[in-house]
């Protein structure tokens, strides 16, 4: 849109007045007092220093000029490379995207202003904008790379299962002095494969999904098997398999012996029930939020 298009027409109200035929008169002109004319200048406007449109200026409300010349622009900085962007988290990339966008908006406003002033030396602005566009394209590319890798790995179910089976075997056969490092490994594995955070307070209760339930089942069964292998005497007393998430959850929250006792108590009191599928997530959410509250109270 050119500036000339937006030239002001007669105000609507004056035209309406003229059309309605109301007799408008100045009255006694001799009594009208002449005042000094008000010169049209931007100084007559008061703009709030935190007006959001200041974001379209390079220095915000401290900006001196509306249109920077080519040498005032930053022509020395280079674009972010793929390698640099790949090291950054989603949050960082998100921030960087908007910083880039803001800078592009500033440039676009300046180029637009230059166009309306018939000032044609904006090649530098375009060159800088091209660099910023490259950064934005690279950010998108890096995020897509990650997403595609994530989606592909979901199809590798066979390999995942194979690794889990191998891990189970090694865990069950681990000697007494190895088990500490294996337990640490298990904590990493349950996050890597099933997204179960190592710290209780990091849990996102809204984000509990089928993977979490699978992971819970894997971890609980692994620990029980190990325990029963170490204490064959218990094998008669403690029957397998575990009866769904109600019996599996204690193994995630407590150590094995305590969990076994808890499960036994549950079984005796008849509270150990196999939940319907629809009840699994609500149960986990309430049980975990209770556990998190309890932990906060203990600290």
């Amino acid at each position: 849109m050119s500036l000339r298009v937006s030239m002001r027409a007669f105000s609507l109200s004056s035209r309406v007045c003229a059309r309605s035929g109301s007799k408008f008169s100045f009255g006694d002109l001799s009594k009208v007092k002449l005042r000094a004319p008000i010169i049209p200048t931007h100084k007559n406007f008061d703009v709030s220093p935190d007006h959001p449109l200041w974001a379209f200026f390079p220095e915000g409300n401290n900006t001196e000029t509306a249109l920077r010349s080519g040498d005032e622009l930053d022509m020395n900085s280079r674009e972010w490379t793929f390698a640099e962007l790949r090291r950054k988290s989603f949050e960082d990339l998100h921030k960087l995207w908007y910083l880039t966008l803001k800078e592009r908006n500033i440039l676009a406003r300046e180029v637009r202003l230059a166009e309306s002033l018939r000032y044609s030396r904006t090649q530098q602005h375009d060159a800088l904008d091209e660099k910023l566009v490259t950064v934005q394209k690279r950010i998108k590319q890096v995020l897509l790379e990650r997403q595609v890798a994530h989606e592909r790995v979901q199809t590798f179910t066979q390999q995942q299962q194979q690794y889990l089976t191998e891990f189970e075997e090694r865990y069950l056969n681990a000697s007494e002095h190895e088990i500490v490092s294996f337990n640490e490994k298990l904590v990493r594995l349950q996050y890597a494969f099933f997204g179960i955070e190592p710290q209780l307070q990091d849990y996102d209760l809204e984000d509990i999904n089928i993977k979490f339930v699978e992971g819970l089942s894997f971890v609980a069964n692994l620990k029980v098997k190990r325990y029963l292998k170490q204490n064959p005497a218990q094998e008669q007393e403690f029957e397998l398999p575990l009866n769904g998430v109600v019996e599996e959850l204690p193994f995630l929250l407590r150590n094995v012996t305590e969990a076994i006792e808890e499960v036994k108590a549950l079984r005796q009191s008849g509270e150990s029930v196999k939940l319907d599928k629809i009840d699994v997530f609500p149960f986990l959410r309430s049980a975990l939020s209770n556990a998190i509250e309890q932990e906060e109270l203990d600290q």
Binding site: S77, R87, F90, K140, L144, G195
Partner: protein
């Protein structure tokens, strides 16, 4: 019009413009300000000079000591200029220069290596340029490297630069495959859900393009097809036991009369060969009997 007969004007050099898609920056082109080049054509042919600037849109370089006489409008005059007619630095297309390397031996004798062509490979991080740069080698001489020159001025942080430690700080590491790296809401910004390539339905035009049109039949073809249609359909029936015995007898009679062992071996091999038409007929018979 012949240039010789035109009056001097404020014209600018008309170098061919490189299309934007094939344009390369100076690092991709393997040239940087401060490089030495050997001029192969023109007035200064055979001299080695240094590069001031590379222009990607014309694929040309501005080098020291190569100027042309030009008339400059008064608005572009510089200090101490008192004539319209001045020496003006002129661009040399890259086809007229070759990259040169300077070498000093132990006795301090300077010699130059001129690369007919260069190859760029093995990227490394150049701290002077603050970026990854490829190494430059003379083509077919992978032992002769022409190092990048020192940049004319040190690269310093500018208004839009990010501090080096912030850039190198690692804030992402793949820890889990269970959680998506990109929030679901952001995914539609990365991929176009309405992309025409994701549509499962073809438009009529696309369908027509994919399928060849049906050829109209000639009169003769129509007559032939009508004749074929009027014929009774061919039916396949298995041979009766009587006929099978008859054929078997005939063949046994014939084979028993052969003495030549080579001929017998030949017939044996022949009987094992698979005849596609025969198999097809047998298949047809089986289908019919079902």
């Amino acid at each position: 019009m012949n240039k010789r007969y035109t009056l001097p004007t404020f014209e600018t050099a008309q170098l061919p413009v490189v299309p934007a898609a094939t344009r390369k920056n100076n690092y991709e082109r393997g040239i940087a300000p401060g490089d030495l080049v050997y001029i192969t054509e023109g007035e200064k042919k055979g001299t080695v000079t240094s590069v001031f600037h590379y222009n990607p849109s014309n694929d040309a370089v501005l080098v020291a000591n190569v100027t042309e006489k030009r008339i400059t409008p008064k608005t572009t005059w510089v200090e101490n200029q008192n004539s319209h007619y001045v020496d003006y630095p002129s661009y040399l297309p890259m086809s007229k220069v070759k990259l040169a390397g300077k070498d000093k031996d132990d006795e301090g004798k300077v010699s130059y290596v001129v690369a007919d062509e260069i190859v760029l490979k093995d990227k490394y991080y150049d701290d002077r340029y603050k970026r990854w740069l490829p190494k430059r080698f003379v083509k077919h001489h992978s032992s002769i490297e022409i190092p990048w020159p020192n940049p004319p001025s040190a690269f310093e942080d500018d208004a839009l630069s990010t501090q080096e430690p912030t850039v190198f700080e690692k804030t992402y590491e793949l820890q889990t495959i269970a959680k998506a790296p990109v929030p679901k809401a952001a995914l539609n910004q990365l991929r176009n859900p309405y992309s025409k390539h994701k549509k499962r339905v073809l438009s009529e035009l696309q369908a027509r393009r994919l399928n060849s049109p049906e050829m109209p039949l000639s009169v003769e073809q129509k007559i032939y097809l009508a004749k074929q249609a009027s014929k009774p359909k061919k039916t396949y029936t298995n041979l009766s036991e009587e006929i099978k015995d008859f054929i078997g007898d005939k063949m046994a009679q014939h084979i028993n009369s052969i003495d030549n062992p080579a001929m017998l071996a030949h017939l044996e091999a022949l009987s094992r060969a698979k005849v596609p038409d025969f198999e097809k007929t047998i298949q047809n018979i089986e289908d019919e009997s079902k």
